[in-house]
Symmetry: C2
Subunit: 156 residues, 2 copies
DNA sequence: TAGATACCGTACCAATTTAGTTCTGTATAT
DNA sequence: ATATACAGAACTAAATTGGTACGGTATCTA
C-alpha cells in the first residue's frame, strides 16, 4: 500500500506528543500516554535520537526531548529516520536500482513526482501537526481538494 | 519505505506504454517493449482490466487498450487498482483499524494529509506522464520545490 | 469447424519486510 | 551504592511482495 508503515506513524505520534509537553518525558510515560507498548516506543525513541531529532538524557530522571523547536522539525525528517528516503518509486530514490531505467518511459517524471512529494513533506512540520490543519486550494478536476503543483507539457 | 511497490510502478509504466501506442497490444508485445517478464506483465494487465482501466480483447489478434483517453485516467486510479487505497496512514484509509484512534493526537491531521496526497494523484493523469513534466511553484522554507497545499493554524 | 492465439482466474511459493520482543551494557541522579 | 533509564544488538513471527504455474474460455483465421 502507498502509505506509511505503522511504526513510522507511531513515531510521528510520539514526536507530536513530545512536542506538546515541553518537560522531559521518559519512554514509559510516552508509552502510557500513547497507549503503545513500551518496547516499541523505546525502539522508536532510540531511532529518533540516533538521527538527532531527539535528545536523550540517561539515568534517573532521564528521558527525551526535541532537539529543535517543533516548527523546525519536518515530517520528512521523521519519515526518513524511521523508514528511509521518501520517494514515489524506487528508481527516483536509488538510481541504478532498476534494469529498465535506460528505456523506461516514466523514469524522469517519477523523479519529478518524488521531488514534489518530498518538498511537501519537508514543508510540513511538527508545529503544523500540533494543531488542526485544513486543506487549502481547490482542486480543478474533482471535488477533493488539491495538491501537488505539477505542470506538464499539457497533453490534450 | 514510503513509496510505490515495484509492481505498481511497473503497472504505471505499462499503462503509459499502452497510452503511447494507440493500436491494440498483447501481453507479449508489452513484455518485450517494457523488458518486464511476461507472467508479471500478464498479471498486471489482468488487474488493470479487472477494474476497468483497460479493455481486453480475447482470441487471436487480441490484446489490451485503454478504456478512456489518457488525460481521463488518473495515476490515483492505477495505484488504487494495484495496491489498494491511497493514504498517508492506515487510520486515514480504514477508520477503526487502530486501537489508539480515540486518543490519537494526529489522527485528524493525518486524514488531511491523506486527502491532499490523494487529490494530487487524482489530478495527475496518464496524459501528464506521456511527456516531460516540470515542478511548478516555489517552496518557501527550503530550496526544494513545493508541494502540497496545506494550511495549519500556524504555530510560531 | 478445427486450431491457434491470447486473455481469465486462481492458486501457489520464495524472499523480503515489518512489527514486536528480549537481553546485556552503560550513563546519571539521589 | 543503587535504582533509574537509555544504548545497542540480536532475534522471531507474521504479513506483504514479487514472481510463477496452470487449467479454462473466448475469438479470430483458415
Amino acid at each position: 500500500m502507498f502509505r506509511l508503515n505503522k511504526l513510522t506513524d507511531y513515531g510521528i505520534v510520539l514526536m507530536t506528543s513530545i512536542a506538546q509537553h515541553p518537560e522531559l518525558q521518559n519512554a514509559r510515560d510516552l508509552s502510557a500516554a500513547s497507549q503503545l507498548p513500551l518496547p516499541t516506543v523505546s525502539k522508536l525513541l532510540k531511532a529518533l535520537s540516533h538521527v538527532g531529532l531527539l535528545v536523550s538524557h540517561r539515568g534517573s530522571k532521564g528521558g527525551y526531548s526535541l532537539s529543535r523547536r517543533p516548527n523546525q522539525i519536518s515530517v520528512a525528517e521523521i519519515i526518513d529516520a524511521l523508514e528511509g528516503p521518501i520517494g514515489f518509486t524506487e528508481c527516483s530514490v536509488a538510481a541504478g536500482s532498476c534494469d529498465l531505467e535506460p528505456s523506461c518511459v516514466v523514469r524522469r517524471n517519477s523523479k519529478v513526482i518524488s521531488l514534489a512529494l518530498l518538498g511537501a513533506l519537508e514543508n510540513l512540520t511538527l508545529g503544523d501537526l500540533m494543531q488542526p490543519m485544513e486543506l487549502a486550494g481547490l482542486k480543478p478536476r474533482s471535488n477533493i481538494v488539491s495538491s501537488i503543483n505539477l505542470i506538464s507539457g499539457g497533453v490534450q
